[in-house]
Assembly symmetry: C2
Homo-oligomer: 599 residues x 2
């Protein structure tokens, strides 16, 4: 690294790969880095002490135990030569432990002392705020308004719609006491707000003029699942938005269902660089109590599992009949008697699960990889080439220039951090910012200063291949452009992976092998619930089920579920008279249906 | 109203007071208005039916009973000649019922079937979003970051800090069951998040470099109070923000405490047009477990009660000692051994209570009055002067011009609504928009069209005094200016009222009479807890206490509490040797302290 200035001075020399030392765990031999190493070791010890103390002092709840278990497992499967504070479990060896480390070491999340509850730290909450802002702007453009309903719901109201509550009953958290007093009746914490809100829709909707009524809430809901929890993907409390709308007819409701679904797809694809497939859920998988459910389905390349990304439901008139939400028929002429119309309703929700999906897809063995559009820090500038021989004046000059570069970039509306910390080597800093997923690192030292350029290092392409140069003069234009390229490339790679692992299968014998090869499968299917159950059974390996291992370890043994009936069907359609792909099913195939092992 | 066009055509005619008919409940005799009346009567019947049905179908919970009780009470005290759908209880006759009607008929809030929980409808949630946006921008400028902690807290952790939990214990809601399973240990819903967050501060803060740590959450908390609930002011679940920060020293913490308090004052004064007094809480009234509490205190002119507006606490080192949040002393030299430093902490919170305070202060017997800066609809344009004789072409032309006016105003970044509904008279519409608090109404009819102007009607000054004209040409400039004037005038009136009702008292005999005259009182006080208790006792009328009446009815019998020790002390200071104003107290007075009956 000391040779950097010389290299650059030579002109056409190759771009310095300052990450090499770190990635191979060859610690810098200069004084400054010895200090950093000592500090890091000490900090690591302190942190471990504190965490242990905290775990002991606090409670012995399952959540803590869960986190500790995962922590204790880690050392078994270390990445060869991993840096001291870096990710030390590889994605390939233990996906679950890797995912947890990426989130905790990347400063996105922390484990909480109640199992299934997690702390969203600023880096992940920032992403949620970006999504909120984007989605609010769009839904407000069609007249959706935000509001806030209570988190509590009485038992009577919660259980009014039978199919609906059946889907949630086992997971409802109940409040029974306040202070030392027992409540007269136990009160539920909402698992979702249909039954919380609709008695009031019945009251508020007086005439067809009040339609469409479109309300949305950003809140948290509680579903006390007993399966193994996983940050962002399966949590007992989670943040989401839930939209609840009422329309005069099926057409208005149906149009909105698709509009919202498109925006969900945009959030995944445009903001998070995550490709999704749009489609309809089968009867078996649709929302309990609704008419039909549309969904965006994602794909985790590493284990080949599908993941539900967000759902937009048409509830039809089921809830409006249950809750008596009616208007007079506006088509009735003066004096004419027509029966009242039950309104058509939708509900749609997107949760912080999106963040987990994004992390699983893009991140690597160095840590988080964040798409520039949602990264809290888009660019970090690290001064380099400062050695023991550098004079104080030279160092000051470099630091001042780094500040000036940051100012230029901020004027281009970029979110920029500079890392002037003393006592840490550049490589050390690179490592930390990589772990935290910052999309673009700029290096600036005497060589760059002399040559009027910055060295760029893309987070999404580690090592030399991801390095380049931008002249200082073009900074305000080329850095945003490079971030756009990174965003587009992240999406492109994920899309290629999803496309190449979405396999059309028409012969059952190919189905399980395709799943085992980490594919999701499009099969001609009858769409019957009973048949789906069979497909699931037949594609599962019985022996391994039911143990308490994290699900990722179980994945290869899971049965396949239907993910959706994609809107975009294969152009050849379904052959006339073709039966369902399940060899035990005699029904005609109705559509290409996407099946997969899934979250 | 039919004469409007003629009037205006005559040129210098006085500004039409189109509200007169409504305010005197003289319903328009034209066909169009007969229809509206019939419709309204029918809608009123339907709504009453629905509400009754809903109440019966739903649950017989206290919340419903509470709302029904209030509703049943209303007809007793009708405003003479009140319009059919308008506010029918005057502020003067029954403040509590009036407040409830202003909120429900103004479309801000609805009662919920669980007592003490309320639905924030879009009009009030919009105000909260405006506050969020403004406050986020400010706190982010000093490095505060938003995040999200779980709503649940284990009993052990909740009860770690004894003084602190004592302040909340009686109101904590406990979850004991999930589905049909009893939880191993009951789990609390956070009443506030100090003990939720600080175990993690202990883990995350490793070095003085990690300070200041400044996190904020926008969430809801639950305090299951058993006193009579009141929308926005005393609710069992409420929305708020809670900031929790850690600093290396008292100075950094103290500076932030005041900065946040200033922003709370700005939210009240600049956004909501509500004057507040800044000060410090006495030992008796400070936050349980904290070092000192600063506060903004508001004043409700109608009943002369003080109201706590928002608090910014310095927690000192109490929690950091309890939770072990320490850093190494950065002043220690190489090799020197210094004891670890316990960090200095702050917490600060502002809740949706702000909305209730704003409503109580500005609203009147026609309904809500919203300050323009936070009103979801700032301007409503109502077409007028359309009679049975108006041709279809003339009507279309007026409507098109109204649309064009709206476009001009929206280009000036105003939030504008037009009301082209058929079958409702202008007066009817005026009434509805007044009830909903829209700050400025523009009337536009044939007269205005011909004269190239709009007639303006200020919500804050009902009747002729609030009317004026703006030429179409000046619309984009003069309407925003008029809204600014309305905002400023609302504040000015409220401030004059607060100032004139803040009375300096040095003789105890004047104290209770001053309270009875709806004043808050500055008295030289010893600031001792025991003395405060005495002052409260001595200023209360015993007999009326403890009944279940809404508090507003009880107010005159309440004892006075200390509201704050204002930062801005009367310039004359405290006379040397002056004893406390409480005649039974022999202590020296330490400061002018603000006392009042309060919420």
């Amino acid at each position: 690294m000391a040779s950097n200035a010389d290299e650059e001075a030579a002109g056409a020399a190759p771009i310095a790969d300052r990450t090499a030392a770190i990635n191979n765990d060859q610690v810098d031999t200069k004084d400054v880095s010895k200090n950093a190493l000592k500090k890091a070791q000490k900090q690591e010890r302190l942190a471990a002490d504190k965490a242990n103390k905290s775990a002991t002092n606090t409670t012995k709840e399952a959540g803590r135990a869960e986190a500790k278990k995962a922590v204790n497992k880690m050392p078994k499967k270390k990445i060869e030569g991993a840096a001291l504070i870096g990710i030390d479990v590889s994605k390939e060896e233990d996906f679950s432990a890797w995912y947890q480390q990426v989130l905790t070491k990347g400063d996105m999340l922390d484990y909480y002392d109640i199992s299934g509850c997690y702390i969203l730290k600023p880096a992940s909450f920032f992403i949620w705020e970006e999504i909120q802002q984007w989605f609010n702007k769009n839904i407000k453009s069609i007249g959706v308004k935000n509001c806030s309903f209570p988190m509590f719901v009485s038992q009577d109201v919660l259980e009014r719609e039978k199919d609906h509550i059946e889907g949630f009953a086992a997971e409802v958290a109940w409040v029974t006491h306040a202070g030392n007093s027992k409540l007269e009746k136990k009160i539920a914490i909402r698992p979702t707000s249909e039954t919380v809100m609709y008695p009031y829709y019945a009251k508020w909707i007086r005439s067809h003029r009040d339609l469409p009524l479109r309300l949305n809430q950003w809140n948290s809901v509680v579903r006390w699942e007993f399966k193994h929890p996983q940050p962002f993907l399966r949590t007992r409390e989670f943040l989401w938005q839930e939209g609840h709308t009422a329309h005069i007819d099926e057409q208005g409701a149906g149009k909105e269902v698709l509009q919202i679904l498109d925006w969900y797809a945009d959030i995944y694809q445009d903001l998070l660089a995550v490709p999704v497939i749009r489609g309809r859920k089968t009867e078996k998988e649709k929302f309990a109590g609704g008419l039909y459910t549309t969904t965006v389905e994602g794909y985790i390349p590493f284990n080949g599992r599908g993941i539900q990304g967000g759902t937009s439901h048409c509830l039809g008139q089921n809830f409006s009949k249950m809750f008596g939400i009616t208007v007079e028929d506006p088509s009735a002429r003066e004096g004419e008697k027509k029966p009242p119309l039950h309104v058509w309703q939708n509900s749609w929700g997107l949760s912080t699960r999106v963040i987990g999906v994004m992390v699983m897809i893009h991140s690597d063995n160095h840590g988080l990889v964040l798409p520039p559009r949602v990264a809290e820090i888009q660019v970090v500038i690290v001064p380099v080439g400062i050695t023991a021989k550098t004079t104080e004046a030279e160092k000051t000059s470099i630091h001042e220039q780094v500040d000036a570069l940051a100012t230029v970039l901020r004027a281009s509306h970029l979110r920029v951090e500079t890392d002037m910390r003393e006592g840490y080597s550049p490589g050390w800093k690179f490592n930390e910012w990589e772990m935290r997923g910052v999309p673009l690192r700029l290096e600036f030292g005497p060589g760059e200063s002399e040559g009027h350029f910055v060295t760029t290092a893309r987070r999404d392409i580690p090592g030399k291949d991801g390095k380049g140069r931008i002249t200082v003069q073009d900074l305000g234009k080329d850095v945003p452009a490079l971030l756009d390229t990174i965003q587009a490339d992240l999406y492109k790679r994920a899309e290629e992976s999803y496309k190449s692992h979405t396999i059309k299968i028409t012969d059952w014998d190919d189905f399980v092998p395709a799943l085992n090869n980490k594919n999701v499968c499009l099969i001609p299917h009858c769409l019957e619930e009973k048949c789906e159950d069979e497909v699931k059974d037949m594609s599962a390996k019985k022996a391994a089920e039911g143990n308490d291992e994290p699900e990722d370890a179980k994945a290869p043994s899971m049965g396949a579920k239907s993910l959706c009936i994609p809107f975009e069907q294969p152009p050849e359609g379904i052959e006339e008279g073709k039966t369902c792909t399940n060899p035990n099913c005699k029904n005609l195939a109705k559509a290409w249906c996407l099946f997969g092992r899934s979250y």
